[in-house]
């Protein structure tokens, strides 16, 4: 009656890995754009830009990712969009990533020595030149490790999309588990796939962090 967990089942889960990666990639790409805007607004001298950014970050950091996902999922419907797990998940994770990357990058921008800002003012650089040629390149170097760290968090977070019916590997694992009823094997396989994706990224983040602290120590 039950199927046993074999190659076919494994393949089914492995194929669903595409959607985990695709969702992560979309959210991360969108989050990089949104995060840059949030970070620049958050570090802006204008209170009109700074306070909304502060509020956005507070709200996203102070509420569960699952609730953010539900609110976007059900909220899109209120504005006349059809309920679609793909669109809702992509939108929710993009917003989530924008707020978190915004806060991470704010820290990186503020970590650039104050003298660099003053020097660029003294050189008469405008807002765009100051950021593009002086501040952001230096902040980017600091940002690599925490950004990759957040990517790991985001990748793990996409498992929650399974709850709104988005088929990625957690959902595929549940489906296979319902067919085979071998939860130990199935969830071990799913966990191993997440691990195979996340661990190298974590190691990379740790190495970058160590390199950076060594560079600072000099």
């Amino acid at each position: 009656m039950f199927r046993t967990f074999g190659f076919e089942e494994f393949w089914f889960i492995l194929l669903a890995l595409r959607w985990t990666i695709a969702l992560t990639a979309i959210a991360f790409a969108g989050g990089m754009v949104g995060g840059l805007v949030v970070a620049l607004a958050r570090t802006s001298a204008l209170p009109m830009l700074r306070y909304p950014a502060v509020a956005l970050i507070r709200v996203f950091q102070g509420t569960p990712l699952l609730m953010q996902l539900f609110l976007v999922f059900f909220g899109l419907n209120l504005f006349g969009f059809k309920i679609d797990p793909w669109f809702a998940a992509a939108a929710a994770f993009t917003l989530h990533a924008s707020a978190f990357l915004g806060e991470i990058w704010r820290g990186c921008i503020e970590a650039v020595p104050r003298g660099q800002f003053e020097a660029s003012w003294a050189l008469g650089l405008g807002y765009k030149d100051r950021n593009v040629s002086v501040i952001l390149p230096q902040a980017a170097r600091i940002a690599v490790a925490p950004t990759v760290g957040f990517l790991v968090q985001l990748l793990k977070g996409t498992s929650l999309a399974s709850i709104i019916g988005f088929i990625e590997i957690t959902r595929a694992g549940q489906v296979v588990n319902n067919m085979t009823f071998q939860p130990m094997v199935v969830f071990s396989v799913v966990a191993a796939m997440y691990f195979a994706l996340c661990w190298p990224l974590s190691l990379f983040a740790k190495r970058m962090e160590r390199q950076f602290s060594k560079a600072l120590a000099r």
Binding site: L65, L78, I163, T170, W199
Partner: protein
């Protein structure tokens, strides 16, 4: 559980007219069932406090094992930390609730939630505690001994307290994050705040309003927790910095 999710997704479709921005919010069903949300919030806080207590009980020995332990113990501690930190909490809780019964460990949903949360936060906190222990200067320990403190006193006043002080902000934000993560336990039918929201939503179809209020409660809880932690920190570590 699967059926629950399907119902959750389908239930809203027939009830929503595509009214665009003309949608009128209806919070009445949410506030009629507000007591359910409060009961759920109490369980969320219980899970959080339980997770903090058991997570810390896991974190300190694991961190100590990773620094001071013999090689196999060190590997074991690293394996635990890396395994938990590189897999989603959702999978961990499925593992505890669905897979462990097949080896004879059966939990009811709320206990499974507590177990999974403790194991999860234990790994994250272990990494933080480890950083704190590494930050303790060896000379400080010698100074403690020279002052005539016993072994336990040295551990308590010279190693533990300064270590906790150094990592207090990181540790407490991890605990707030634990409270937010606990919303995921609703998927195994634990009866926390998010689950209370799901129930009301299924009965009233006011999904957006319900989750808006639930999210607001989570937000209030996280502000409340941060506040408590900062007050406690100011009281417990109320002595001047070394430098």
């Amino acid at each position: 559980m699967d059926q629950g999710i399907t119902v959750l997704c389908r239930s809203v479709i027939p009830t929503r007219r595509a009214v665009g921005v003309l949608y009128t919010f209806n919070f009445a069903p949410v506030f009629e069932n507000f007591d359910q949300l409060l009961i759920g919030a109490v369980l969320t806080m219980q899970l959080t406090v339980g997770g903090i207590v058991f997570g810390s009980l896991i974190a300190v020995p694991v961190a100590a094992a990773k620094i001071y332990g013999a090689a196999p113990l060190r590997w074991l501690a690293s394996a635990y930390i890396e395994a938990i930190r590189n897999t989603p909490f959702l999978i961990q809780i499925f593992f505890v609730y669905f897979a462990l019964p097949s080896v004879g460990l059966r939990f009811d949903p709320n206990s499974a939630a507590l177990v999974a949360l403790s194991v999860n936060v234990g790994a994250y906190s272990a990494e933080i505690v480890r950083a704190g222990l590494l930050a303790i200067n060896l000379g400080q320990i010698e100074a403690g001994k020279a002052l005539g403190l016993g072994g336990f006193q040295v551990f308590r006043y010279v190693i533990f307290k300064p270590a906790i002080r150094a990592i207090y902000p990181a540790l407490t934000s991890q605990f707030v994050y634990l409270m937010l993560t606990s919303s995921v336990v609703s998927v195994i039918s634990a009866t926390d705040l998010a689950a209370a929201g799901n129930n009301i939503q299924l009965n009233t179809f006011a999904a957006f309003e319900v989750y808006l209020v639930v999210t607001a409660i989570y937000f209030a809880l996280s502000l409340f927790l941060s506040f408590i932690f900062s007050v406690f920190g100011r009281w417990a570590f109320n002595y001047p910095m070394a430098r």
